[in-house]
Symmetry: C2
Subunit: 213 residues, 2 copies
C-alpha cells in the first residue's frame, strides 16, 4: 500500500532515524537514498522538474543512473515516495469501533496529517509545490490517493460490515480524501503560511454539512 503523494514523507528529512545499530551497508543505503533525493530537489528547484534529466541527478549525487533507478523505480518516485498509508491505517484502526465511520476517518486523516507535518522541512514545501505544478506528479499523486481510498475502504468495510466495494463506503472515503487534497492545495496556493489543519477542518466541515455553501 503505497502513498498519498500529496502528503509529505514521514522519513524524508536527513538522518530521519539512522538507528544506532545498523550495519555499514544499511547506513550507506540510507545515505545514498538521501543523496539522490537532495540532489534531485536542488536541481528541480534550480531548473524545473522536466528540465532535469535523471542522468544529471545521478551525476550530482555521485552515483550511476542505474543506481538512481534502483532506489526509485521512476523519476516521479524521487518526489512522491512516502509512508502515509500505513500510518493512516494504524490510526484508523485505533479509533473506537462504535464511532461513526465518517468521524473515524476524519480523526484518522487529521491525526495522520498532524504527525506528518511534524517534519515541516523546506524539502516538504518544495515537494508540495512540485506536486501542484508538475502535471506528471499531480497525476501520480492522485494515483496514490486512489490507493489510500482502497485501503480505507477495506478498514471501513470491517468496521461497518459492509463490503469494501460498497458504493456508499467508497463515496464517503473518496470524498474525504478529495477534501483533504483540496485543503492542502488551497494551503499551498496561499503560500503555505497558515495552519494546514485549519484548512483541512474547514474542508471536512463542508462535507459533514452535506456540501451546502
Amino acid at each position: 500500500m503505497p502513498d498519498n503523494a500529496v502528503m509529505a514523507s514521514a522519513q524524508t528529512s536527513p538522518a530521519a532515524k539512522p538507528g544506532p545499530r545498523l550495519g555499514l551497508r544499511e547506513r550507506k543505503k540510507i545515505q545514498t537514498r538521501q543523496a539522490i533525493r537532495s540532489a534531485a530537489y536542488r536541481l528541480f528547484e534550480e531548473q524545473g522538474y522536466d528540465a532535469t534529466p535523471v542522468d544529471q541527478i545521478a551525476d550530482a549525487a555521485d552515483v550511476s543512473p542505474s543506481t538512481v533507478f534502483r532506489y526509485f523505480p521512476t523519476k516521479e518516485d524521487i518526489v512522491l515516495t512516502d509512508e502515509y498509508d500505513p500510518l493512516l491505517e494504524s490510526v484508523l484502526r485505533g479509533r473506537p469501533a462504535d464511532e461513526p465511520p465518517l468521524t473515524a476517518v476524519r480523526h484518522a486523516v487529521v491525526d495522520g496529517l498532524r504527525h506528518i507535518l511534524g517534519d515541516d522541512t523546506p524539502e516538504m514545501r518544495v515537494r508540495m509545490r512540485l506536486i501542484r505544478d508538475v502535471p506528471a506528479l499531480r497525476a501520480r499523486s492522485g494515483e496514490g490517493m486512489a490507493e489510500s481510498v482502497g485501503m480505507i475502504c477495506g478498514v471501513l468495510a470491517e468496521r461497518t460490515g459492509r463490503r469494501a466495494d460498497d458504493i456508499e463506503v467508497r463515496v464517503v472515503t473518496a470524498a474525504v480524501l478529495a477534501a483533504m487534497q483540496e485543503a492542502l492545495m488551497v494551503w499551498v496556493d496561499g503560500g503555505q503560511k497558515d495552519d494546514p489543519l485549519a484548512y483541512l477542518g474547514r474542508a471536512l466541515d463542508v462535507l459533514e454539512r452535506g456540501l451546502t455553501l
Copy 2:
C-alpha cells in the same frame, strides 16, 4: 479545457457526425483519427495497453508513427480524449441562477453523463475497462478530473459571488466529481450491467446526506 477521462467521448463512435458539408480534407482527417483509434482499441484488447507500442498502432492504422502523434499528443490520449467539459459547462450555465450550487452541479453532472451515455458503444466499454485497469490511464483520467474541477469552480464562483479558489467551493466540486468517479468505477466493476445513472444518484445522495453511512 480538456476532458474528464473517466467519461466517454461524445464523438468517438464511427461516423459520429460526418457532416454533409465537409471538404475531402476534413473527412480524411476524421477517418484517420478513427482508424488510429479503432486499431488502437483492437490491439489494446488483444495484447494489452502497455504491450502495444505506438509503432504497431501506426502500422495497423496504415499511417506513420509521426501521424499518430500528430493526432494524439500522447498514447494515453488515444484512449482518453473526449469533450466532456464543454458539455458540462454549458449544462451548468443553463441551470437557473437561484438554484443552490450543489443542486446545479448535481443536475449538470447527471445531464452530462446522460448525454454521453447516449453512445453506449462497445468501444466506450473497453475504454472504461482500460481506465480502470491501466495505471497510466487512471492517473491521466484523474488529471482530467482535476481540470473539470477547475472549470466548475469557475462557474460556481460566478454564480455564488465567491472566489474560484475558495476552499468550500473547491471541496464541493471535488467531492461531486469524486463521487461520480466512484459511481462509474463501481458500475464498471459490476460488469457495466445496470444503469450507471442509478449509481451516480446513490453516490450523490450520500454527499447530500453529509456522508452518513
